[in-house]
């Protein structure tokens, strides 16, 4: 079979459910439930640090993850201090944060702050533990941190109840290495599916307070929030795509066995 036919079959499997929903339900896994419960257990008025550690190429996964987590935080009146460890995540992170904050009528400076980007994650993560203003004298919008009510109140990790890394790479590991080991801060991660297997040992060891992986994780999180979003919408297409790939693998192997017998 020409590879172009395989592409067309996959395209059809992914497109049809977008027009004709199959009504599949998502079963919530323990790791996503744990992530959700960690946020549920935070008292209203707490502050959470959300780090957008991803690049534009993975937006299809990281956007649903970031939106689901931010919706949960803002719905519980939890303040958010946010930043990005990757340059490309800066503009995206700010737009996601603003979009969800506006949805819940949250005010910039009082309910959420976006610090911006700094290179050198080691120095940044350690520096934030000492004083936010030393690492970010001004936020992304060029406001002095001393002029914003949230960063007047929360000046370093002491005021942070949880650190969440929305990532497509190995940044969550560095949050564990430096923010957790040095400052004993709980860390949770919402990562792309391709990274999820690397992080299960952190969940098992208790270094992560929760793990949400890929579009499936985002869909599970949306189920817990009771509001369908980008994750749920994409999961039906994902499920049919998986079935198509499994079918193609079986057909390919059967065809291979048949040709081998002939030889």
């Amino acid at each position: 079979m020409k590879r172009q036919y395989i592409y067309l079959l996959i395209l059809a499997a992914l497109t049809i459910p977008l027009f004709l929903p199959l009504g599949l339900k998502h079963q919530v896994t323990d790791e996503v439930e744990k992530f959700y419960q960690t946020i549920e257990d935070l008292p209203p008025g707490s502050t959470v640090m959300v780090s957008f550690d991803f690049e534009a190429s993975t937006i299809a996964e990281t956007k649903p993850l970031a939106q689901a987590v931010l919706r949960h935080l803002f719905s519980r009146r939890i303040s958010v201090v946010s930043l990005s460890m990757l340059a490309e995540g800066t503009g995206l992170g700010h737009s996601f944060l603003k979009e969800v904050a506006d949805e819940f009528g949250r005010k910039y400076g009082a309910d959420y702050v976006f610090l911006g980007f700094r290179p050198q994650y080691q120095a940044t993560i350690l520096g934030l533990g000492e004083d936010f203003a030393k690492v970010f004298p001004q936020d992304y919008l060029r406001n002095n941190l001393s002029d914003l009510s949230l960063t007047q109140k929360v000046r370093n990790y002491e005021g942070i109840s949880l650190i969440i890394s929305v990532a497509d790479g190995d940044l969550p590991q560095y949050w564990v290495d430096y923010a957790q080991t040095r400052f004993q801060k709980p860390v949770a991660a919402a990562v792309t599916a391709v990274m999820a297997t690397s992080y299960y040992p952190y969940l098992s060891s208790g270094q992560f307070s929760g793990l949400v992986g890929g579009l499936k994780g985002a869909a599970e999180y949306e189920t817990l929030l009771g509001k369908a979003g980008l994750g749920s919408k994409g999961m039906e297409a994902q499920s049919l795509g998986h079935l198509m790939i499994i079918a193609l693998i079986i057909i390919g192997n059967l065809a291979h066995l048949r040709t081998r017998k002939k030889i």
């Binding site: 977008l18 993975t58 299809a60 800066t90 080691q122 792309t192 599916a193």
Partner: protein
Amino acid sequence: MDFSTTVAAILSLFIFSFLYRDNPFYKFAEHLLVGVSVGYFLVISIDNVLVPKIADRLLRQNDWSVIVPLLAGALILARLIPKWSRWSQLALAVVIGVGAGVAIPATLQAQILTQMKATMFSFIPPENSIGWLYILERIVILLGLTSVLAYFFFSKEHRGVFGTYARIGTYFLMIFFGATFGYTVMSRLSLLIGRIQFLLGDWLGFLN
């Protein structure tokens, strides 16, 4: 459908055209991506780092202490001039020395000691867990850890009982590779779904 969405959609289609065969449209979009990414990184770095951390402190706050890291950073650029290149080693020595000093204790604690502690066999299940399932999980973790370590232990020949145990490690590795590959397929499909949603929904308006 606004202009920027149309530009993004057309560029996505240019990239997808590679699925048929390599062509000038794909090449154009690929080169544009590289150029825009570098440009964006440069602008963000100047705007978020060089301006607030150096220019503002030097020019607005008259904080001359930033001259020291600025000169140290500039020394790295000395590599570009062969005659002065050895001076860059001074700055690199600081970067490597400080970096290693910061990273080694943190990594040792987080990646080795805590992970080792988590694999220690404990018969006491935590609250709200099914006792026998918890113990089974611990056995699997311990077996997986030790057998994979045995597989990567090359100072002893993989024969007899040790060889069999090391082979068990390869099965654990295969399961890990399979799971990782499965997640990778899932991740790549998600990216494609995202693009389809963008093209059919945001661009053409066919999806709700």
